[in-house]
Amino acid sequence: MKILFLSEHDNKKLQISNYHVLTAAQQLAGEIDVLVIGDHCETVVQAAQKLPSIHKVLVADAPEYAHQLAENSAELIASLAKEYQYIVASASAFGKNCLPRVAALLDLALVSDVVTIISPDTFERYIYAGNALTTVVINESIKILTIRQTAFSEAEPDKNEVAPVEMINTVFENKRTKFINQELTKNTRPELTAAKIIVSGGRGFKSAENFKLLEKLADQLGAAVGASRAAVDAGFAPNDYQVGQTGKVVAPDLYIAIGISGAIQHLAGMKDSKVIVAINSDPDAPIFAIADYGLVADLFDVLIEIEKFIKDKECN
């Protein structure tokens, strides 16, 4: 059994998601080859070599792959596919963009957003914004899967083992898609999908100015900041903060939802958090139906009190 694992990186470092997806790949019980597609991505390759219990690292390093666009990445992956029984990647914007295209080139179906590996051909995934859980059997000769990062624990890097590297020299061009630029949100806080604590804000904040209060709280708690769709649509927070059915799926130890009503689409992205706290002025807000601890209060008062509480604690 051979598994091709498409790694996610920014040409400098491996994203944390890889360590989670690797845990899923290990459950498939086969020989894992990690594929690094990029440009000048030596440091990524070095990190990939230390991923635990992998067979080798395949490297396609060329200017044509600098932005990891789906068109030529998919051609490259499809050209390697015949040797494998599985192709896996994270169910992130990156994996979701690329792997379905690979599947189509190979005339294969794909299972998106896998949360459980039940057996080599049977998987669980959510449908209807997390309101139903399906068990899916796939009989394709090559099984292509995207993996929900939060459903699998993080594999530890292996300090002693260094997997060998194999260069791929075929370069697929991408003449019809041109990369213009990327505007990445500057963020010094923990990554949303990997954070232990998330404070998340909704429309209740009423303005982008007020939303800064949430960011301040996050910094005090060492937390990541999330947002509801309403908060993102209103411009309080950047798009990559959105938690939910169509945003990020998170599962921190502690999720504090502030001024968020708890629409199904939002819950789909956070209901697997270990402990959920909800702060909302409306006692009937649906978020309270899934919160472990609910505080019915005006969020602006609560934010002041939390700040004071934490300051007092630090002084003692």
Partner: protein, 249 residues
């Protein structure tokens, strides 16, 4: 320029769905059905291109049972010019849908195909990418901005850490994210007008494609429910409880 938009009829996003007792699926009898919200955004974008004089024709296509005509009529009311229903009672999964859309694209030769990034029922998020692959056209998924210039389309995508802007040569396939636009409300005259617009029905079997489902769904269950916890009366109580009752603080 001709624009093709795909639309799917799904359970309305406000309906709390219920899993059937026999674990075969979700109960869709007597629940409100609507156009997939992402597809509505796709239709809206195409119509805006028409209003700007960039598109000269907007064609909408759906796959499924005869009732999907309702969804197509909604798209026609929004401003699409004509509609195609590819009729089938098969469970059409993403790869099969992509094959059907490819066949329609080859017949209609659009310059741009716009799809929703995912259908909110099966939540696959695959069909647009698969269609682009089958056609060997450039693709841009999860877009929040679009501008057509000459023979290209410039798009901004919502990606993991922020935004990415790409320039694609036409013909191309794009999939919409939530922030691309806000779909318009329908007026009665538009709804009346739409009744007269052409809606072509063809049977999926005439396309002679392999549409059989490749994913076998053997069980559908309700996920484990979280129970409501307790209400606390103050910030101090909240943090005390977090400290004493959980390991997370």
């Amino acid at each position: 320029m001709k624009v093709l938009v795909t639309v799917k009829r799904v359970v309305d996003y406000t309906v709390p769905v219920r899993v059937k007792d026999d674990q075969t699926g979700v109960d869709t009898a007597n629940v409100k059905m609507s156009m997939n919200p992402f597809d509505e955004i796709a239709v809206e974008e195409a119509i805006r291109l028409k209003e700007q004089g960039i598109a000269h024709e907007v064609i909408v296509v759906s796959i499924g049972l005869p009732v999907c005509q309702d969804t197509l009529r909604t798209a026609l009311s929004m401003g699409a010019d004509r509609a195609i229903l590819v009729e089938t009672d098969l469970d059409i999964q993403p790869l099969a849908a992509a094959k059907i859309f490819k066949a329609i694209a080859l017949q209609e030769s659009p310059q741009l195909i716009i799809l929703g990034k995912q259908a909110i029922d099966s939540d696959h998020n695959q069909t647009g990418q698969m269609l682009a692959g089958l056609l060997n056209w450039p693709q841009a998924t999860f877009i929040s901005k679009l501008k057509v210039e000459n023979n290209c389309v410039q798009v901004t995508r919502e990606i993991e850490g922020g935004l990415e802007t790409l320039l694609l040569q036409l013909p191309a396939v794009i999939t919409t994210d939530l922030r691309l636009n806000k779909p318009r409300y329908l007026s009665l005259p538009q709804i009346m007008q739409a009744k007269k617009k052409p809606l072509q029905i063809m049977s999926a079997s005439t396309l002679q494609l392999d549409l059989q489902p490749r994913l076998k769904i053997i069980k559908v269950v309700a996920p484990q429910k979280r129970r409501a916890g307790i209400k606390v009366s103050s910030v101090t109580e909240l943090f005390d409880r977090l400290k004493n009752e959980t390991q997370v603080w």
